[in-house]
């Protein structure tokens, strides 16, 4: 197989909170994405998935944040690159689509201005050419009457339309990598499906690498080839999508699956994961998921489990994993 386009290796991001306490938002995350591949990062709020995304594009605030590890995009080290260099990477080689299309577009500029801004910035073309390209992009993301739409302000478009515009802006200069941070969370279900279909099309047509960050396993199931499950800043399980859904082994992954309704109704009652993640203890006193884990034992406490490759494929960070092939919905 080809060389991976994006290689994130042992990424650490630590936030200093007021009072000197440090929170490890991302704690040794590694994954790789190839061109044309879609990799999912799934986890609940506070698991560090968005921070990982922001770190890749160097969008974390500079004050109070320390990062270490390595982020290679096509061999270029992005972690610690100068702001000047990062400005050329962002949009040109890697772009991001954000969660809330309602607030992610500038309310005082027409969408045409916001599109052409990125186009002229990266492709160095004249205004007219940029407008043509902008209309072309809107057409590509499925917005009817693109020429007229260019003159619209963001508030004149619906949420789904705005997210399409966001995607068009991200696509403006054909980046090799797109990071989508919960791109469908703020949208209606029907629109969600359309936006996912659009992203899938982009990946297929342009051979773009896509990192899909979400808490929604349905999104993962629909679009990703492989999945990384994050908990408290670490990847706890990763696998090919089919294997992960067929045979989830980490109890957190299983908990996530059990809390999602199934269309075939095979599940009965939805089972929530009790408790909520804690940023205080994290991994220093054993497995961070132990306080919420149904299969917790003494072996889980004291020392944090390592991420190991399992013989059945994928990697797993658990000392008491569920057996291979055990379905989720017949009780955990």
């Amino acid at each position: 197989m080809s060389e991976p386009l994006l290689v994130v290796d042992d990424l650490h991001v630590t936030f200093k909170i007021h009072g000197g306490r440090a929170v490890r938002a991302v704690d040794g995350v590694s994954f790789a994405v190839r061109a044309g591949e879609t990799v999912g990062i799934v986890g609940e709020s506070g698991s560090g998935k968005s921070v990982t995304a922001l770190a890749i594009l160097g969008l974390l605030p500079s004050r109070g944040v320390t990062t270490s590890g390595s982020i290679l995009l096509n061999g270029q080290q992005l972690l610690g690159a100068s702001e000047h260099d990062m400005q050329d990477v962002r949009g040109r080689r890697a772009a991001m689509v954000f969660q809330d299309p309602m607030t992610s577009l500038n309310p005082v500029l027409t969408i045409g201005r916001q599109l052409t801004e990125t186009i002229t910035r990266h492709l160095g073309v004249k205004r007219d050419a940029a407008r043509d390209r902008a209309a072309e992009l809107l057409d590509r993301v499925g917005i009817p009457e693109p020429r007229q739409r260019l003159k619209n302000y963001p508030h004149q478009l619906s949420g789904g339309m705005r997210q399409r515009v966001m995607i068009a802006i991200a696509l403006a200069s054909d980046p090799a990598l797109i990071i989508a941070d919960e791109p469908t969370t703020a949208l209606d279900v029907t629109i969600q499906a359309q936006v996912l279909e659009l992203l899938r099309e982009v990946v297929r047509e342009s051979n773009t690498a896509l990192v899909m960050i979400t808490h929604d396993l349905g999104v993962i199931a629909g679009i990703c080839e492989s999945v990384n499950v994050m908990y408290s800043g670490r990847i706890v399980e990763s696998n090919e999508r089919h294997h992960l859904f067929a045979s989830p082994r980490h109890h957190y992954t299983r908990g996530l699956l059990a809390s999602v309704p199934r269309l075939d109704g095979a599940q009965g009652r939805l089972v929530p994961i009790p408790g909520s993640p804690s940023d205080v203890i994290a991994w220093s006193e054993g497995c961070a998921f132990a306080p919420r884990c149904p299969a917790v034992s003494d072996a889980c406490r004291g020392q944090a489990p390592e991420l190991v490759s399992s013989p059945e494929g994928g990697t797993l960070r658990c000392v008491q994993p569920a057996p291979v092939g055990m379905p989720v919905w017949s009780g955990r």
């Binding site: 969008l59 990477v89 949009g91 040109r92 005082v108 990125t118 508030h155 966001m166």
Partner: protein, 304 residues
């Protein structure tokens, strides 16, 4: 029909960012606000008076042709010849009021304009660069804010002498820190918004990020502050000229000084206090009403 649909559309916009976004929407809301119409009418009225003063004034405001009618115990009040009566120097009060509108409005607008532009500049620099530049500018504004504006005004007058320029500078300078802080803080607020992160994420350069994204979204509070501060500036200008800071030539009509000259004569000629006082009041009221309407139009929390 089209008006109705436009209004309906406007009602559906409950996203606060949207309210700031379109100047057109704001204008529409200002035009529909009765306060704005009253305030605007007053402003236009006084501006027209100031502009066309030579045509409107019945007499030369400096002419003391009627000085022989002035007695220490009686100054003629309103009459058919002199609608607003005569002043203590035997000049036509109405003509002086009309010409006085020029000085009052000009000083008010000019001083506020200078204060707002200079303040916006410092606020922009502080908000755009942050770090030590920000700290330095903010400490300087703290110092300016700590100096009582009256003391500042008197020192300005002491340095550059008694003149209308002194009033302009004295009213402008205390406005600088207010506007600087306001623009800086709204820029800091805007910088946290999602659209800034998303513009950054597609490689928009810092300069255009600040000038095209952050600043236009931060201007609404400035506009509101400016339109409300205009009335204060006019009152302050009148107050300083009341205290004797205005033009060194006593023949130049200024509302504040006209008021000051008559304090000793209140029981002899109350009309000399009433007319300039009411003129100042109505002008300030006009600017205040209009400013309030601008605020309502731009502030999503106050929209009805």
């Amino acid at each position: 029909m089209s008006v109705l649909t436009r209004r309906q559309r406007a009602d559906q916009l409950d996203d606060p960012d949207v309210a700031n976004s379109l100047t057109r929407e704001a204008w529409r809301r200002i035009r529909q606000n009765p306060l704005a119409i009253v305030g605007g009418t007053i402003i236009v009225f006084f501006v027209l008076i100031a502009v066309f003063a030579p045509m409107l004034a019945p007499f030369n405001p400096r002419s003391n042709a009627w000085f022989d009618q002035i007695r220490p115990t009686s100054i003629p009040g309103p009459s058919r010849d002199h609608w607003f009566g005569l002043d203590e120097g035997g000049r036509d009060e109405l003509s002086r009021l009309i010409f006085g509108a020029r000085a009052s409005l000009m000083i008010g607008v000019l001083s506020l304009g200078i204060g707002a532009v200079a303040g916006a500049f410092f606020g922009l620099v502080a908000g755009a660069f942050g770090g030590w530049v920000d700290s330095l500018i903010m400490r300087l504004t703290d110092i300016l804010l700590a100096v009582p504006s009256l003391l500042l005004a008197l020192s300005v007058a002491a340095v550059i002498g008694q003149s209308q320029t002194a009033i302009v500078v004295a009213v402008a300078v205390p406005n600088i820190p207010l506007f600087a802080r306001m623009l800086r803080s709204s820029m800091l607020g805007e910088r946290q918004k999602d659209y800034v992160t998303s513009a950054t994420s597609v490689g928009v350069r810092r300069r255009s990020l600040v000038m095209r994204h952050v600043v236009p979204n931060s201007l609404a509070p400035m506009l509101v502050q400016a339109s409300l501060a205009l009335s204060t500036a006019i009152i302050d200008a009148a107050a300083l000229s009341f205290l004797g800071l205005g033009s060194a030539d006593p023949g130049v009509p200024e509302w504040g000084r006209m008021l000051a000259n008559t304090t000793r004569l209140l029981n002899v000629a109350p009309h000399l206090a009433i007319f300039p006082g009411v003129a100042i009041l109505i002008t300030a009221l006009g600017f205040n009403l209009f400013g309030e309407a601008v605020r309502e139009a731009l502030d999503p929390k106050l929209r009805r």
